[in-house]
Amino acid sequence: MGSFEFLLDGIVRAFELIVTLNPYILSITGVSIKVSGTATLLAAMTAIPLAFALSFVQFRGRHAVITLVNTGMGLPPVFVGLFVFVMLVPAGPLGFLNRIFTPEAMIIAQYILITPIITGITLSAIKAVPEPIIETVYTLGGREKDVVLTTLLEARFGVITAVLAGLGRALAEVGAILIVGGNIAYTGSVGGIGEGLSYTRTLTTAITSETSKGDISTSIALGIILIAIYLFVNVAAGFFRRQD
């Protein structure tokens, strides 16, 4: 098979899989969205307050913490996966939770990976808000919560970028969730695409396993579905971001 044919074949395959509403594909897509969506939500709920705290609360070692957070943007997924793995395995300190190879374990791993990313980008968005805006909030009698709300409003383009970058990273991520989630699909999926249902298999981990099977067309099809989902999110976000 010529090389271009893989791509063409992948595109055709993607359409096929989508229009036929293939239940196996739907289920791994569902797991992808559920895991990455939840991880992004939790990460944003941690990262945005953290970025505000690091921007506005003065304390010793603040710059050191910021440097650490920024360094977190470079956490290798496989490393994070391993870390969560050794925590969650039955022999590990959190083994009693019995959460290894579950969607929850994947959410934890992605949460660790993307929280620093969202924090780092949000930090730089907050930094770009002019000081006089913040002083105006204070002189009008606003408290910290009003500073936060107004800064969010002024920096919203950057904050949305941060969250979208986190979501993109989570959706595309494979190294960590492969280790902690185990890429598990139930029944009938032995034969490949078309049967069975995902438990911890996502679009990315499925791409990895299809690739190692040498089934490049299916991998490309899955990749196209993944990109289409993220494109959809970005188009939606585009409407929010543009109106100013």
């Binding site: 598990i184 029944t187 190692s212 099977k213």
Partner: protein
């Protein structure tokens, strides 16, 4: 840092499977080959399916894998020539020491898997179309069972990862002997079934990428490599490999 050793003359790209890499045997053999032929070997370790696909697209010179059916299809398509039998070993069924499905007592592999299915004990399938996975599918077929239910989980991963998963899940799985032995001290799982020579046979073949399809491949060097693997000396190395470390060899040479 200079990553290219000085007197390297020619590079040979081998596309192979994780079991030859992870057991360390390929490393040993390649070193011998390099010393003897003043060559540089680049080894790409991946799933069997991908390893064959890599060769089919001309990105390797020689392919060393263990999936006879896929190999033959590729040879028929004209992607490879000179497919040569190098060595074999046997697959083993591993699982928790207390053997809840009771497969120790069974006669053959289909029967063993049948017990697991009957008791719905957790079974982890590689699900990656590898030689091991294809072998597993063949055994299910022979047992006339289509495995289904949440006890049967496919992970789409390499052998090592699959063993780790089965270990944590306290599940059964099918493994090649070499990888299992290499990981033996990292898992609680034990060999529960290995007596079936018919269904658990695991042959490794080497084949050269067809130079008529990809004129740039190092066909001469590939042939040297194939001849090297089948030479008496190398076959002897294969025969002895693992004895010191695991008290038993990992592979059996095909020719001696």
């Amino acid at each position: 840092l200079d990553s290219t050793p000085d007197n390297a003359t020619e590079e040979l790209r081998i596309s192979t499977t994780s079991s030859t890499c992870d057991t360390g045997i390929l490393d040993l053999l390649n070193k011998e080959f390099e010393n003897a032929n003043n060559a540089k070997i680049l080894t790409v370790c991946q799933g069997t399916g991908k390893a064959i696909a890599t060769g089919e697209m001309g990105a390797a010179d020689v392919v060393f894998v263990h999936a006879p059916a896929s190999e033959l299809t590729a040879v028929e398509k004209g992607s490879f020539i000179n497919r040569t039998y190098v060595m074999y070993n046997y697959f083993v069924i591993i699982g928790p020491g207390n053997d809840p499905a009771g497969i120790r007592a069974t006669e053959n592999a289909p029967e063993a898997l049948g017990m697991i299915a009957g008791k719905e004990q957790p079974f982890i399938s590689r699900g990656d179309d590898s030689g091991t996975h294809n072998k597993e599918k063949a055994i299910w077929m022979a047992a006339n069972i289509t495995p289904s239910g949440t006890w049967y989980q496919s992970v789409g991963k390499g052998m090592g990862d699959t063993i780790m998963t089965a270990d944590i899940r306290e599940a059964y799985t099918l493994s090649d002997r070499g990888t299992y032995l290499a990981m033996k001290d990292k898992t609680k799982l034990v060999i529960l079934f290995e007596t079936d020579k018919e269904y658990l046979f695991n042959p490794y073949h080497v084949m050269a990428v067809n130079p008529e399809k990809f004129p740039d491949v190092k066909y001469d060097m590939s042939m040297k490599y194939i001849n090297f693997l089948t030479s008496t000396e190398v076959q002897a190395i294969i025969r002895d490999y693992g004895k010191d470390k695991f008290d038993e060899p990992l592979f059996t040479p095909a020719l001696i």
